[in-house]
Structures are given as C-alpha cells and as structure tokens.
Symmetry: C2
Subunit: 165 residues, 2 copies
C-alpha cells in the first residue's frame, strides 16, 4: 500500500506546487488591485509566506528523491478564474476589496484541504519531517484565512459608516 | 454600498447553487465508487444534507425576490475534474477511498469558504434569516470535513494492519 500512497502523495505535492506558483503571481496582482492599505499589506505578507511554502514543497520533492515539478491543477485554475471575474466585475465599486477577500478565502481553503491531507499522508508514510513542513504551511493558511475574515468584516463596517456620514 | 453588496451576494448565491447541484450528482457517483461501508454511508448522509442545502439556497433566492438560478462556477468544475482524475487513477487500488476522501475535502473546503462569506454578507445586508441558513450549511460542511479526516485516518490504519497481516 505504501508504494501507492507514496505515488498519490507525490501527485498531490505536484498539484499544490503548481497551485502555489500560480497563487504567487496572483497575489501580486491582488495586492496591486486592493484599495485598502490593510488588505494590500495582508496580500504582501501572504506573498512572502507563499514563497516559503514553495520552498517547503521543494524540500519535500527532495525527500521523495524527485525533481520539483508541478502538475496542472484544474481546481486552482477554476478558483483563479472566479477571482478574475470578481476583479473585473467589481473593480470600479467600493466593494472590490470585499470581493477580493472572498476570492482569497476560497484559495486559502483549497490549500487548507490539500496541506491537511498531505500532512496526514506524510505521517503515515513515515516522513515526519515532511509532515512538519506541511503542518507549518497549513497553520499559515489557517491564520491567513482568519485574518481575511477579520479584515472583511472591518471593511464592510467602515464602508457602512462612510456611507451613513 | 448595500445595492452593490446585494448584487455580489446574489452572484455568490448563484455560484454556490450551481456548485451544490453538481456536488449532489457527484456524491452519488462517489458513494457508488467507495469501497468501505463507512465511507459509502458518509457520502450518502452528506447527499441528504446537500439536498437540504440546496433548499436553503432556494429560500435565500426567495428572500432576495429572485428566481433560483445557478451560474457556472469554474472553481467547482476544476475541483470536480481533480476528483474524476483520482477516481480514474486509483480505482483499482486499495487507496481509492483515501483518494476519494482527499477529493471530498477539497469540495467541502470550497463550500466552507463560500458559506462563511455568504453568512457574513447576509448579516451585513440585514438578512438575519438568510445568515442563519448559511450558518447551518457552514456547520454541516465543517462537520463533514472533520468526519472525512477521521475516516481517512481510520482507513490508512486499517490498510496498514491488513498489509502487515
């Protein structure tokens, strides 16, 4: 069974490696598009974290004795398309940032699902070091998701106050 | 701002309505493919929950005074494509169920992201009843995700024991 699990693990590492590199590009774009300084800052910070997450995956490829190589991930392509749609539809409205946050949170939840699975599989494969790396990325994604929820709420309240003024 | 937020809310309700109806079909397929009775049962139970989630969305459309109508959701299409790929690649291996669980968890996390956003926006729009419905669906998805994690771990352990025997 472990040979098959290792193959499946490798497949999923390739999938999220592809996804993270796409996300890295998109985070720059979202950072430029965001209107509020707090959200810009959050995207910039997460960009730095994503770079580290990519390095962690490269370490996992090494542990597997494989070349770091992505594999097209249709899920992230679809999630990104929705983000682009929000960017296009709401770019001239006061709610662009609110939309960007929704888009970012679906990206984060995709990563939360993937890193959770990879952490569990790595443990089972007797790769505690890889499991630790995947847990670190999982924790960062969970924290970013919470930060986005907080920022989202703040922005909605701020917009409401400005409108009432 | 609330007119724009209501439009964005309506857009996202249409997105998840489309996704849920896709998911309903896929859950039947996953239930048929799953090998372990516990996983089959979990997919069947979640199929019932998904039917209720679709009804909740229909209630929200009514509250908005709109016709219940989906809108193509590229994210769920991509997530589903990955699930199909796992089904094809691992259907004759003892790890099919493990792969199905990984696929299911990325679907659940997409829904967790969406329902969390919709709940927050509904509150802000002064639609407490809609917010309550979205919270109920969010709670079900969170519980299903946890159940899948537990089942996934049990299956890996069971396979390892069988292999050692």
């Amino acid at each position: 069974m472990n040979a098959t699990l290792e193959r499946m693990f490798h497949d999923q590492v390739r999938d999220i490696y592809y996804a993270e590199r796409k996300i890295l590009k998109t985070l720059s774009k979202m950072g430029r598009a965001a209107k509020s300084p707090e959200l810009k800052e959050a995207f910039d910070k997460h960009r730095g974290e994503t770079e580290v997450q990519i390095e962690r995956l490269q370490q996992v490829f090494e542990m597997l004795g494989k070349r770091a190589q992505g594999k097209t991930c249709p899920a992230i392509e679809g999630i990104m398309d929705e983000g682009e749609e929000i960017l296009d539809s709401y770019k001239d409205t006061p709610l662009l940032d609110t939309g960007l946050i929704a888009a970012a949170q679906s990206v984060e939840h995709y990563e939360i699902a993937r890193y959770g699975t990879l952490r569990t599989w790595a443990k089972h494969l007797g790769m505690p070091e890889a499991a630790k790396l995947m847990q670190e990325s999982l924790d960062e994604e969970t924290a970013t998701d919470k930060l986005m929820s907080t920022l989202g709420l703040q922005l909605l309240k701020k917009n409401a106050v400005q409108e009432a003024a």
